[in-house]
Amino acid sequence: MSRTGKLLLIAVPVVAGAAVAARRRRVPGAGEQRRRHVVTVFRPLAELQAEPLPGSLKEIADDVEITLSAAPGGRGTEIAVRIPEGSSVSSGDVRRALRETRSLIEVGDVLLPYGPPTTVPTLLNRPLQTATRHGREGGLL
């Protein structure tokens, strides 16, 4: 198979994936406004209740509904976020906030991407770079 053919075979699923991810960010699905986004943080419920939640979750706290509950089996605390009707907060905002908050609580820090970058912008790189610019906003959380 030619190099161009191989590159196309690689590019097509990546582009499609990025397109789906981008669409998910822009257009909330019918169930998206109703379901809750939940992460489990490996710290006891009492510890999380003692102080305001840190980081970007604190920044959106007024625009979402946040529930804390003890996770079973000593796994820590479940943080659940529901986006009310009419809120300006997106699912991507919530996913990023939950992931960053979990890391802040567990580690005290949020891992930053490698830098300075070693890659160069190309037509083939662009969809992947678009996806990774929002690496903590996408996914299934």
Binding site: R3, L7, F42, D109, T119, G135, G139
Partner: protein, 389 residues
């Protein structure tokens, strides 16, 4: 600094890239002393894992000297000689608490990709695509090491660079396969693949007390290494009925533990190889699971199969019927290096675990593209190519 960069499918070049910077307080910078090829890099090189960007730096198995530490690094100082786990883990989440470090919740800055693909995201890895965090790899003069207190380990004076290097990934991965595969004294263990990881899995099985350990491959030079350095039996699948031999050598039962150390670009004799390769090239399946199929078929009833080889997506003709009806336990994982490296360094110091023979080709970083060519083609008896930036 100089670094080996992915430039496109099957295209590598050594180029100049910016030096890495401390980005988090727990980071440190390591001056790479030795860094080694891995069979799983070939999946990136060949485009089978389509999350590489032009300019990405490869390499995830390495050792070097600490040259800069962040304010939250307490275990290491400038000048320390360290070996670093290929997977990046925070050490503080529930998965790290369970010693499942490659599943860390906080070690991957791009969790969306793998979460969408696989349901949940594993941790990050050095030099292993943007799906695993987009971290620049170790085939460079310097590398940033996040969570340095968790993932880097001082090398004892009595362990040479040549030996300690392989604790970074190959030996940890191999040990994990035997450990989590449940190898016990008296077991018969079969290992598919006589590369570095397969050899280390076999050595782990020997040290954990297995009664017989049998390594399967097609390359005689690798099988000779197994007999000479690992202390295990061998089978060449191009000249032997592997299934029959394993049955005979295990009293008709089949191996108790089967460890697959081959991965998504497996070879095999017969028509199934052509079938798998065609489907993979047409992207009707992403991976060639030949060795996993064989392991499941050969394993004894109620036995254990551990998948160490790297797979990315979907496979065809997976023997679910055998798995279910024989009551098998199948597990797999990326490596939990932080769990095993301290113990491995002790065993290396004691002479129980030797790895120098794996470094069949040692060369400067400038020659890394040629090193990968030799490694990929398995020319000149190449098992691993080690680069010295």
């Amino acid at each position: 600094m100089k670094a080996l960069q992915w430039q496109g499918v099957n295209k590598l070049a050594v180029g100049e890239v910016p030096d890495p910077e401390l980005r988090n307080p727990g980071d440190m910078i390591v001056k790479v002393g030795k860094t080694v090829t891995c069979g799983s890099d070939l999946h990136l090189l060949g485009g089978y894992i389509p999350f590489m960007e032009k300019g990405d730096v490869l390499g995830h198995e390495f050792l070097g000297e600490v040259v800069e530490v962040g304010p939250d690094v307490h275990k290491h100082r400038v000048g320390d000689r360290v070996v670093v786990s290929s997977f990046i883990a925070c050490g503080s989440c529930w998965y790290c608490d369970q010693k499942l470090f490659s599943l860390c919740d906080n070690g991957n800055t791009n969790p969306a990709i793998t979460e969408t693909l696989w349901g949940h995201a594993p941790g990050g890895c050095f030099g292993y695509s943007h799906a695993m965090g987009g971290n620049a790899g170790s085939h460079a003069e310097y590398v940033r090491v996040p969570f340095a207190d968790v993932g880097a380990f001082a090398v004892p004076d009595e362990v040479s660079d040549e030996r300690a290097l392989f604790a970074s990934d190959s030996a940890s991965t191999g040990w994990m396969g035997a450990d989590l595969g449940g190898v016990k004294p008296g077991d018969v263990v079969a290992v598919w693949g006589a590369g570095a990881v397969g050899q280390m899995a076999a050595r782990a099985a020997v040290l954990l007390g297995a009664d017989r350990v049998i390594v399967i491959d097609r390359l005689d030079n690798r099988l000779q290494q197994v007999e000479k350095f690992i202390g295990a039996e061998t089978l060449n699948y191009e000249r032997t009925d592997v299934s029959g031999e394993l049955r005979e050598r295990s009293g008709g039962r089949g191996p108790d533990v089967c460890i697959e150390a081959v991965g998504m670009e497996a070879h095999s004799p017969g028509p199934q190889f052509a079938f798998d390769q065609l489907k993979q090239q047409l992207r009707l399946q992403t991976d060639r699971p030949t060795a996993v199929r064989d392991a499941i078929h050969a394993c004894r009833k109620g036995g254990s199969v551990f998948v160490l080889g790297v797979y990315a997506g979907f496979v065809d003709k997976f023997p679910l019927g055998a798995l279910m009806n024989k009551g098998l336990t199948v597990r797999g994982a990326q490596m939990h290096g932080q769990r095993y490296i301290p113990m491995l360094l002790e065993r290396m110091a004691a002479g129980e675990l030797t790895t120098e023979h794996l470094a069949t080709h040692v060369m400067p970083l400038d020659q890394a593209p040629e090193g990968y060519r030799i490694f990929k083609e398995k020319e000149d008896g190449c098992v691993r190519a080690v680069f010295t930036p």
